[in-house]
């Protein structure tokens, strides 16, 4: 699994994301430029220029026609992917920390930071790709509950029914996407929730935290399914399609890195078995903590973006797909047999 090293950013990466087809990889970094790469060979297709501050998040609509970015320059921008032109800008009162389209990209959630006396919010804006001009009037603004920490991450659940948000006190909450009502909260972490990514069908999700763990949580009942111990702060976590794995990325905090050697930083991506919770592999390479991980939608590879300014694009080798626990083999065999008898 020889990675392709994508050297296009000058500052730490903040998010990487594949489009729905998986042929393109989008990356945003603190250097205020978003890059688009061919995922097959790592060639850069182009950049999205226009932000004047660190970009914190990016999302792409299902048809890869538009992309949205959120930045610390108090704005979220909508881009046409094909041309790289910015077609609309939402201005916010505080830096944008997260952006995500809903399933059909008719809405977008924009998560803003809590700074300078302004409360952190999750705002949902309508989007209409038939027009260039977009509504700046949010459909819904979710303010944080006083007993919960500041929002750090947020995303849409299955059917766009709920919005799941992570907080800096380690709690996560389930919010009705229509009314903004807080339906459930749980505290499965002791530290900041650093990332939240869904399963392909968005019925469960994984959150990562500085408390050196990641947890798998069910959306419907909001119960803890699995917990993974990484022995280093986790900045990003992802559920792999095809195989029952999860990948965690992280490492020692950037602020402590100068005081330690790269060997103790644990700047590795760790692969765990999703169901058995065993660690089954590690991928080294970054020389700073890993800030973000994205999985190819077809499960054929993953990309990691680090504090070191590099994106490493990995394509899984055959052994990754072949690896199976004995019990899995047996289960697969019995499953196959029962299907055959049924047909």
């Amino acid at each position: 699994m020889r990675p392709i090293l994508l050297k296009g950013h000058e500052r730490p990466l903040s998010q990487v994301k594949f489009n729905r087809d998986g042929d393109l990889l989008f990356s945003v970094s603190k250097d205020s430029v978003a890059s688009i790469w061919y995922s097959s060979n790592g060639e850069r297709l182009g950049t999205l220029n226009g932000h004047s501050g660190a970009i914190s998040a990016i999302d792409i609509d299902p048809t890869t026609t538009f992309a949205i970015t959120g930045s610390a320059d108090f704005s979220a921008k909508l881009w046409r992917v094909e041309t790289g032109e910015c077609i609309f800008t939402w201005n916010t009162v505080t830096p944008v920390r997260g952006v995500e389209f809903n399933k059909d990209a008719s809405k977008v959630l924009v998560l803003t930071a809590e700074v300078m006396g302004h409360p952190g919010t999750i705002s949902i804006y309508p989007v209409d790709f038939t027009k260039e001009e977009q509504s700046t009037e949010p459909l819904l603004v979710i303010k944080r509950q006083p007993e919960l920490g500041v929002f750090t991450v947020a995303g849409w659940s299955y059917g766009d029914k709920y919005i799941i948000a992570g907080h800096n006190d380690g709690s996560i909450s389930k919010i009705d996407a229509e009314t903004g009502e807080f339906l459930e909260t749980a505290k499965y972490h002791e530290g900041i929730v650093t990332d939240l990514q869904f399963s392909p069908d968005r019925t469960y999700f994984i959150t990562s935290s500085k408390d050196q763990s990641a947890v798998l949580v069910d959306v419907l009942e909001f119960k803890l399914l699995k917990q993974y111990q990484a022995k280093a702060p986790v900045n990003s976590a992802v559920i792999t399609p095809v195989k029952d794995y999860i990948i965690l990325g992280g490492g020692q905090d950037a602020k402590d890195v100068t005081t330690t050697k790269s060997a103790d930083g644990k700047f590795e991506s760790k692969i765990f078995h999703k169901i058995f919770k065993d660690e089954i592999g590690r991928i080294k390479g970054h020389f700073g903590p890993i800030n973000t991980i994205a999985i190819h939608p077809k499960g054929t590879g993953f990309a990691s973006g680090g504090e070191d300014g590099y994106v490493r694009l990995h394509h899984f080798d055959q052994p990754y797909f072949d690896f199976q626990y004995d019990v899995e083999k047996t289960a697969a065999a019995t499953n196959k047999a029962s299907l055959q008898t049924a047909s």
Partner: protein
């Protein structure tokens, strides 16, 4: 008698008599009398003299009543006891207090008791023997029960964060806890006793000893602020040091009665405890030169091999004490001007001059640096005679370290010398063959500074680390060398000459740790950020060894393994020599804390990274009770034994594997159930999407590369 008329006694009025003879008995009257037993049985003629003597003795403590000594006679002899009356009860009390147990002469010891006590204790005295209720000690089972483990597993303790636990360790299996790991088991650190019988936890108020199968409480040693602890080799005595001087509770405080320390202990900081009774044997103040020291050298009290003697270094002298009285041997200090350090021989020394059946000698060695008009010297002293049996004078000495061989046959003295300019340092090794008559000294000169020296516990070989870079700061400048006695004419030279049989250069190692059973050795780089471990075999049985000497020696070197171990701070061999553990302690740094266990050949067995990991410790094992013949028998039948153990192991492995598989099956089933449930829910909502089999578009990329371009002109 019968003639006398019947008189009704009750009709007689005795009141006048009663009044006359009544003894005002409010208790105070009888309190004035004492019974003295144990006096000489003397003929009647001697009674006046005896009375006079006793009168003088007893009147010294209080005023006697007139004519107060009554000595009953029988057959013209005194009965050996007498009664004395004092004018006041206080006088009687004083007599009991001061004169009870008084020796009148060689044969006679006076036993003084109060008369009133006789009533109190004797009236209701029951002659019938009643078995006293035996006090039931809390059962800790046998302290060494862990040694009887059928699988001969090792135990080790772990300290991490505020949790301490003790675990069984078996080759090839994950450690299993012996008892549930305890939160806040200790406030400072824990330690096993030297034979592994006890597990000690150190707290702010003192030491708590645990033992037995379930590590129940055995003893508490009250020593507030205790920081450092040490044991005598036989576990009989415990030495503790606290920076807080001992204070006593107020005079009438209820705690005072049960307080272990006495008035004379006040202000002392160093305590020697009897481990069995849990009471202090002796306390010491710190010598004034140590009071100022920020970093305490420890142990302060060093013990002879059999714990019969212990010694402390003072300025210009060594104080040698005899256990269990802890009084100075010969009632005086061992004069040692300028003594810098001393070490006991770790075993009894059988000298050539000794007769058969004699107890092996207790030797200790000390060294003192150069003083005005005095060269530096190393002296070997015999205890308890405190006579110096050998001295060697040295010049230009920077430092000196004493290394006794574990069996007490050699003392190696590593002498670091400086050149006249004091710029370069080089080392000598002086070997004292203490078992020989007059103790010959063999000198081994080296051109470099020796930073580390270690004897192989089971032979006369040793390992050293040398460098010509004195600060030891330049990387890869250390040389690790192993030495063995040279063999000439087929046997080890009587005038032992050590020859290096293997030197490994370009290392960073700073520690050599031999297996307690010899043969295997680890050279390690500890506390240096990027640590590493090298495993060596000194008796390699394969064909090609890696010796690099032309001399004949009994050694066959082979490197077994090399491991990088980032952040390793400590290394410890298990007593049986099967495993060695390395760990990275949060006490030294905060990154990569955890531990790893290797086997003797350097194959990693287990590793674990633990947040705030503090300490790993193998449980010590007492000396084997097998005789040499027993051991030989075991060696002969090794195959049979190992087959038995292997069978057990594989059975257990099977069981473990089955358990793991069952667990995984369960997890997989649970997951499937969960997914089915969720998918059903999605279907209800009409959101379920069948997994689509998308056609994968294959993009073919043709890459052309021009390897060579050549132009040829064709006619």
């Amino acid at each position: 008698m019968t003639n006398e008329p019947e008189i009704d006694i009750s009709s007689i009025d005795f009141s006048d008599l009663e009044k006359k003879y009544t003894v005002e008995d409010d208790g105070s009257y009888m309190n004035k009398f004492i019974i003295v037993d144990g006096a000489p049985i003397a003929p009647e003629s001697k009674v006046p003299i005896l009375t006079k003597v006793l009168k003088k003795l007893f009147s010294a403590v209080g005023e006697l009543q007139d004519d107060s000594i009554h000595m009953p006679l029988e057959d013209g002899k005194t009965k050996g006891y007498l009664f004395i009356g004092y004018k006041t009860a206080e006088g009687a009390n004083e007599a009991v207090k001061k004169l009870h147990g008084k020796k009148l002469d060689q044969q006679h010891r006076l036993l003084v008791n109060k008369f009133s006590d006789m009533d109190e204790y004797l009236t209701d005295f029951n002659d019938e023997f009643k078995e006293p209720a035996t006090y039931k000690l809390p059962s800790t089972k046998v302290l060494d029960s862990w040694l009887l483990d059928e699988q001969a597993r090792d135990q080790f303790s772990l300290e991490m964060g505020n949790i301490a636990g003790i675990y069984w360790y078996k080759h090839g299996f994950p450690p299993t806890p012996v008892v549930e790991p305890r939160v806040n088991w200790t406030e400072l650190f824990t330690k096993f006793s030297p034979k592994g019988s006890y597990f000690l936890s150190v707290h702010k108020l003192g030491i708590h000893a645990w033992g037995g199968e379930d590590f129940k409480s055995i003893h508490k040693f009250y020593h507030p602020g205790v920081r450092l602890i040490d044991f005598s080799p036989d576990e009989r005595y415990l030495v503790t040091l606290s920076p807080e001087p001992i204070t006593l509770p107020a005079k009438n405080h209820p705690a005072r009665a049960s307080f272990p320390f006495k008035q004379e202990d006040v202000g002392n900081k160093l305590v020697i405890w009897d481990f069995q009774t849990g009471l202090p044997c002796r306390t010491f103040a710190l010598p004034p030169d140590l009071e100022k020291e920020k970093k305490m050298t420890w142990p302060l009290v060093k013990w002879s091999y059999d714990s019969k003697y212990c010694a402390r270094k003072g300025p210009g002298a060594i104080a040698v004490y005899e256990a269990p009285s802890f009084q100075l041997v010969n009632k005086k200090l061992l004069n040692a001007p300028g003594v810098a350090e001393f070490e006991w021989a770790p075993a009894g020394v059988r000298t050539e001059t000794q007769k058969k059946g004699e107890e092996p000698e207790h030797l200790l060695a000390y060294w003192s640096p150069e003083q005005i008009n005095l060269p530096a010297k190393v002296a070997v002293v015999q205890v308890p005679t405190n006579s110096i049996v050998r001295t060697v004078n040295l010049t230009n000495v920077t430092d000196c370290k004493l290394y006794w061989h574990d069996n007490g046959s050699y003392l190696c003295c590593k002498v670091d010398r400086h050149t006249r300019s004091k710029k370069t340092i080089f080392s000598y090794l002086e070997f004292f063959k203490v078992t020989k008559k007059d103790i010959p000294v063999i000198k081994l000169e080296l051109k470099e500074a020796v930073t580390t020296f270690a004897w192989e516990p089971t032979s006369e070989r040793f390992g050293i680390i040398t460098t010509d870079d004195v600060q030891g700061t330049t990387p890869n400048k250390m040389n690790v060398s192993f030495y063995a006695p040279e063999i000439s004419k087929g046997k080890v030279n009587t005038e032992t000459v050590w020859r290096p049989f293997r030197t490994i250069g370009g290392k960073n190692s700073n520690a050599i740790v031999f297996s307690p059973k010899g043969r295997f050795v680890v050279a390690a780089t500890l506390n240096a950020g990027s640590g590493d471990l090298d495993f060596y075999d000194l008796d390699f049985e394969g064909e090609r060894n890696e010796n690099d000497t032309k001399f004949k020696v009994k050694a066959s070197f082979k490197q077994l393994a090399h491991h990088g171990y980032h952040g390793i701070t400590h290394l410890q061999w298990e007593d049986s020599g099967r495993f060695v553990a390395g760990w990275s302690s949060v006490w030294k740094h905060t990154s990569d804390n955890g531990f790893k266990i290797y086997n003797f050949a350097g194959i990693l067995q287990i590793e674990d990274q633990v947040e705030a990991f503090k300490k790993f410790s193998w449980r010590a094992r007492p000396k084997s009770i097998l005789t040499e013949e027993d051991k030989k028998k075991v060696e002969e039948n090794l195959e049979q034994y190992s087959a038995q153990f292997e069978e057990l192991d594989s059975m257990e492995a099977d069981a473990n594997l089955r358990e793991i598989i069952m667990r995984r099956k369960k997890l997989l089933k649970e997951w499937k159930e969960y997914r089915d449930f969720v998918e059903a829910h999605l279907k209800e909502l009409g959101l379920y999407e069948e997994e689509k089999k998308e056609d994968v578009e294959v993009i073919e990329e043709v890459r052309e590369e021009i390897l060579e371009e050549k132009e040829e002109i064709v006619d």
